[in-house]
């Protein structure tokens, strides 16, 4: 039950409990100590009092002056306040034969009476006293006795004249002790009241990162959670390390997911590539035959106009099929020379009319100053495809930019346009043939671009946000043979 409770509550509760236990333990130990001290105080002060009174009584007993003895033992009682001093309840002076010589409570302990006859406690006391040397001071406190008895011998020149018995009620120090308990309890409550809010605050602060982590962890599996708030996991302690580790794990999960997605797309594109190549190959073989046949027919066949017209029609159809199939297949072009500054500029010249048609602005950065060792035909084809797509995507008076550069052994082509954002679904199928069949094109531009980039072992990345769609192609420069 308690073990299932959230740390959010458990930690503050435990800290509070700890504060309570500490406060109680300190209070109880203080109380225990003060209880003993109160008692010791009583013993010491009463024994001292006994010694003084006994010494003063010596003369009175020697002179058999009862009244003087009575006044001596009554002197401490003239102080009214019981709080002021630890005061005896009753004082009895016993003579040599253990009878009452005089007492502060003459009605209870009359002169010359045997106190043990009336008072059972005194009887027990006398029995106890008989075990002690009569000339020694004795303090007797027994569970059975309601009072504490402090017995002091009264002697003169070593001759025992009598004994001074002082009765102290337990209440005398219990009252003082209880007053102290009240004070200590109030202090403890005050400390607890002051510390508890701190405890709760610390507890929550301590548990917050773990609670957050646990919540985020729980989401792993079904989805990738948000990276946890770095403010909660600051510091280099275990929790901070845990937070950092968790953030890294989330990043890795994201990368992995992106990679997986990319792989799915690549696999699909590769499959489509193989499939289209196969079909193209199957088409190209008979197509070559058919074109040869029509050629032969035009040269050597009947010259009647209808036949000529029909053969020409067949040839045009077959050539269109050839062109389409050729577009699907990226064929190795024979014309291979490194791309030059002029090649890029030529491309610009080629796409300018299309841009002007939409009054679009084309920002152009041509960073190729030395011939770069990448087949120029391919580069031009990629650039034309990307730019025509961009021009197609931007609204009228929109802005397009293009940047071509070489850095660190790669040729980098980047295009930006202000067209509409491409949604996620379309992004996944962007490079498939006929995926985005538009009125103006067959939907093969990006497919071809992708095929070329693949052929050249390069990469193509696309990102699309509001009014900012970006294609970046990187092609490794080939080592000059």
């Amino acid at each position: 039950m308690l073990s299932d409770l959230s740390l959010r509550y458990k930690v503050p509760l435990r800290i509070s409990l700890l504060i309570l236990i500490v406060a109680l333990a300190v209070t109880v130990s203080l109380l225990a100590r003060s209880y003993l001290m109160f008692k010791q105080d009583l013993f010491i002060s009463s024994e001292n009092m006994g010694r003084i009174v006994a010494r003063t009584l010596t003369t009175a007993l020697l002179h058999d002056d009862v009244w003087k003895a009575y006044e001596i033992i009554n002197a401490p009682f003239s102080v009214d306040s019981k709080e002021a001093a630890l005061q005896a309840d009753t004082v009895i002076v016993l003579d040599k034969s253990e009878r009452v010589y005089v007492s502060t409570a003459p009605r209870q302990y009359p002169m010359l009476s045997d106190p043990a006859l009336k008072d059972d406690e005194i009887a027990i006391l006398k029995q106890k006293l008989s075990q002690h040397d009569p000339t020694s001071r004795v303090t007797i406190e027994m569970p059975g006795l309601g009072n504490i008895y402090v017995v002091t011998p009264i002697d003169s020149d070593g001759v025992l004249l009598g004994r001074l018995v002082m009765l102290y009620s337990h209440e005398i120090y219990i009252d003082r002790f209880l007053a102290f308990v009240r004070q200590a309890a109030m202090t403890a409550v005050l400390i607890i009241v002051l510390l508890l809010p701190f405890g709760v605050y610390w507890g929550q602060r301590l548990s917050a990162p773990l609670v957050e982590l646990s919540k985020s962890m729980g989401q792993v599996g079904s989805s990738i959670p948000q990276t946890p708030d770095s403010r909660i996991f600051k510091g280099g302690d275990e929790i901070g390390q845990l937070g950092a580790q968790f953030a890294r794990m989330i990043e890795q999960l994201r990368d992995k997911e992106a990679l997986e997605k990319q792989m799915v797309v690549s696999d699909r594109l590769a499959a489509i590539g193989r499939f289209t190549a196969g079909i193209a190959h199957e088409i190209n073989n008979p197509l070559g035959g058919l074109l040869n046949a029509t050629n032969t027919l035009q040269r050597h066949g009947a010259q009647d106009p209808l036949t000529c017209k029909t053969v020409s029609l067949l040839e045009r159809g077959l050539l269109q099929i050839k062109a389409t199939v050729a577009a699907l297949l990226v064929e190795a072009k024979p014309e291979v020379h490194p791309v030059t500054h002029q090649d890029i500029e030529d491309t610009r010249t080629l796409v300018m009319p299309a841009a002007q048609k939409k009054s679009a602005r084309l920002d152009w950065v041509n960073g190729i100053h030395q011939p770069a060792n990448v087949p120029s035909t391919y580069v031009r084809q990629i650039l034309i495809n990307l730019l025509l797509n961009s021009i197609d995507a931007v609204p009228n008076h929109g802005r397009i930019s293009c940047e071509v550069s070489t850095t660190d052994g790669v040729l980098r082509i980047a295009t930006y346009n202000e067209g509409e954002q491409i949604n996620n679904h379309d992004l996944e199928h962007l490079f498939e043939p006929f995926a985005s069949g538009t009125e103006s094109g067959r939907g093969l531009g990006l497919w071809v671009t992708y095929q070329i980039v693949n052929t050249l072992n390069g990469s193509i990345e696309v990102s699309s946000a509001e009014d900012d769609t970006q294609f970046v192609v990187t092609l490794p420069l080939q080592q000059a043979a």
Partner: protein
């Protein structure tokens, strides 16, 4: 006529000079002596009232034109010894020692209490004791005397026991002295003693100033009347001093301050008194063998 006027003027002048001379002479003749008048007081009254003694001393000093010192001791005997040793000039003592040392003392004044120079001895028991009707009821009990030299607080009960044919030394189980009448009342009130003998005047006065204390005691028996504890002088006291002192004491009711002091003493005044007043005490002394 002229001569007569001038004579008269001369006479007036001379009288004035004479008056001044007399006044001056009087001042020279009665300077405040360095030696004070020493007065011993005993527990025949509530002698623990230091504030009262201070006021009384001031009063006496004004009247006597001399410094006055009150001397207090815990027992009658000590005061008597000081008096006989001439360490005191006057003392307020009990009638019993006066009777004993009559030859060496001079009777100065006797207080007037309730219109006469007499008082009684009271036998008291705790208020809780409702049975005891006489001293015989206190056989084998604890008894409190005030002072062995006190008439009311010792001699009277001793005589009573003697008169009743009891062995006055073993009649009580235990007896003790409190050395003051008021303390006899306290001892009985608190139950320390089962009975006690006390000066009736002290008990009555206590009943006025501390009724809570006396209410815890019960007066069982009042003795016959005896001469009130007298003011005495040692034999060698100068006659003029003796007269002055006597005049001051007996004159106390004549002025406001004196009356106020007497009221605090619960007395009517001080009278001349005579030695016959103490014959009653002398009879007791003679009646008790060895008393």
């Amino acid at each position: 006529m002229r001569t007569a006027v001038s004579l008269a003027r001369h006479l007036v002048c001379s009288l004035g000079v004479l008056f001044l001379l007399i006044a001056d002479a009087a001042a020279v003749e009665h300077p405040t002596p360095q030696t004070p008048v020493r007065i011993g007081v005993t527990a025949v009254f509530l002698d623990h009232q230091t504030a009262f003694l201070d006021d009384w001393r001031e009063y006496l000093e004004t009247r006597l034109q001399r410094r006055v010192v009150f001397k207090q001791r815990s027992t009658y005997r000590e005061i008597m010894e000081m008096l006989l040793e001439e360490e005191l000039d006057f003392a307020w003592i009990c009638g019993y020692p006066f009777v004993l040392f009559r030859q060496r003392l001079r009777l100065l004044a006797v207080p007037i209490y309730q219109g006469e120079p007499l008082y009684q001895s009271y036998l008291i028991v705790p208020e809780t004791d409702t049975d005891t009707g006489s001293i015989l009821g206190l056989r084998d009990k604890v008894f409190a005397y005030s002072d062995p030299d006190s008439n009311s607080g010792y001699l009277v009960p001793q005589f009573q026991l003697h008169a009743l044919g009891e062995d006055r030394n073993n009649f009580f189980r235990r007896s003790f002295f409190t050395w003051a009448h008021q303390k006899v009342v306290e001892a009985v009130a608190r139950g320390l003693a089962n009975g006690g003998a006390v000066d009736g005047y002290v008990w009555d006065t206590l009943a006025k100033v501390n009724p809570e204390l006396t209410s815890r005691t019960r007066v069982v028996m009042k003795s016959k009347k005896f001469g009130f504890p007298p003011f005495v002088a040692r034999h060698g006291v100068d006659n003029s001093e003796f007269r002055k002192m006597k005049a001051v004491l007996t004159g106390m009711p004549n002025d406001t301050t004196g009356r106020a002091l007497l009221q605090r003493l619960n007395l009517d005044g001080f009278g001349q008194g005579n030695e016959q007043l103490f014959d009653g005490i002398a009879e007791l002394v003679e009646a008790i063998p060895g008393g």
